[in-house]
Amino acid sequence: MKVRKVTSILIKTSLFLLGWGILATSFELVAVSIIPLLFLAIPHFITVNVERARITGGSYIGEEFETEIDLRATGFGILKAMHKLPEHFELVEGSNAIATFVLGRNDVKIRYKAKPMRRGNYKLDRIVLELEHPFLAWKTDKELRVELELEVKQRLRRITRVETLRGIARSPMPDVDISKIGVPGTDFREIRDYVAGDPMKFINWKATARRNKLMVNQYEVEGKKAVWIFVDANHYMTFGKSVRNYLECAIEIANALTYYFVSRGHKVGLYVVGRGICLYPDVGKRQFKRISEELMRIEAGEESFDQAFEKCKKLLAIYKPLIILITRPEYSKPVRFVSEVIKAKIPVQIIALKGKIYGDEFAVSLFEILRRYTLKSLRRANLIEWDIDKPIRQLMVRVIG
């Protein structure tokens, strides 16, 4: 409860009359000094209930959604209700706040259109209420809960074509390559030593007798090669506007690439550098959904690419996937990561994000030199620079389509 200006005036008036009455030893003045306090004594009480709350639309960034909230207020006083929106939401039409004078029973409707500007799971469950005395003497704040949630995803950029990239690997892009692991097919590849777990039916008895040790036939496995996307989510990726920064751009690219490769039958995996989140490569729409949901939840953290490599190097050796790093190389410096990966004959693609650098001319030039130097040290990988302010569609055309 806050003491308002009106309350203060009324109390001061009362004290003035009381003081004057005491000085003049006048019962009348003392009696009159009660009058301002009587105005304060007028009760105010408002009870508010949620009758209906609904949200339609707004599943993607920039997509409008419509909110309808019906409240029922009973009592006496001034009611101000505001449906609290997260900071990344932009009001398009109407207002998320409403004020009304309640006398008896009032139906209050909040109707507005807004659009989310950032991905994430948002709980829109707070209605902030300000209940004011009819003469503005008191104000009490309350909060009402409604069951409203909004899941905002990155809008998916559809990619139609992927070009073959040149690199040191024999076949860097997985479109033409086959998987290292998976269900064995009928195409014979080679004879190799038996390892525990190999099926008995694959034992080549003739070769075993000749070499005097267990040998098995190795068949080509079905399915296409795996792709492993490493999204950098370290704190330096969050520089820029909250709705459009390096991290948001990286997530958008990762989402689009995941969709592209999954829809073409590749196994796609995700590693969020900075949070240590790892999703092993898998196929199908379910995997896309898993990755997409994980991307939606990403927040900045702290982890180096070397640590990330240590965590998943065994899996990288098994899958031999195409690795796509989306990062700011001048900060992440994934030199050791890239050299280790290339040493293991795993193809790697770096999407180096760049944005506008603020500062004086000398500082900007110095930063650019350092950036160039880092990029030069990564020249063994296939490197693409991309400005985060440009539309992703153009990047996709250039990089893979």
Binding site: V3, S8, L18, L29, A31, I34, I35, L37, F101, L136
Partner: protein, 190 residues
């Protein structure tokens, strides 16, 4: 704008009541009542100065004017006169005593409460204008309710006071007064 005009009307009404009381009080012996009507210029002047037409200084003047008659019944006032007398200003003390003694009658409490109610309504409506405009609400309902409450207090407050006449212990009244002061101090401090 409506609120400003309303406040001017309220202020003028309060001036009219206060001057009416002053005319029938010892004050008229010192200042002719017709000069007191010049106070009516103050509300428009306050408005021109972008202040509330019924501001606190005007209210204080009106209350002092209206309570001069109260002094005629005040023990404190007569003790002051005694002090003046004691210090040798006998002529002045006797002159004042002769003026004020002639007005020894119970003062009109409803006139005093009318001035206070008008002032309170003016202050609340002035604060309301800004707030309700900000909230995008009309003044209709709140003003009507404010008027009704003010009128009800004006009508029924003398009845509440009449409890005093029916013998409510003065100690009890005093306790209520002290409690009110303590609450007021707490609220102002917060």
């Amino acid at each position: 704008m409506r609120i400003r005009i309303l406040n001017i009307v309220l202020a003028e009404l309060a001036i009219f009541i206060a001057v009416g009381i002053a005319e029938a009080s010892p004050l008229s012996m010192f200042i002719p009542a017709r000069y007191l009507y010049f106070l009516a210029i103050l509300p428009p002047v306050f408005l021109l100065l972008k202040r509330n037409p019924f501001d606190f200084p005007l209210f204080a003047i009106l209350i002092v004017m209206a309570s001069v008659k109260v002094l005629a019944n005040s023990e404190m006032f007569y003790s002051i006169l005694d002090t003046i007398y004691f210090f040798g200003f006998r002529g002045l003390a006797e002159h004042l005593n002769s003026i004020f003694s002639a007005y020894r009658s119970s003062p009109n409490i409803s006139a005093l409460s009318a001035i206070v109610i008008l002032y309170v309504i003016a202050q609340i409506s002035w604060a309301m204008e800004e707030r309700l405009k900000k909230l995008g609400l009309g003044f209709g309902y709140p003003l009507v309710i404010l008027g009704i409450v003010g009128f009800a207090i004006y009508l029924f407050y003398p009845l509440i006071l009449s409890f005093h006449a029916y013998g409510v212990p003065l100690l009890f009244m005093g306790l209520i007064g002290v409690t009110s002061i303590l609450i007021a101090i707490y609220l102002l401090a917060s």
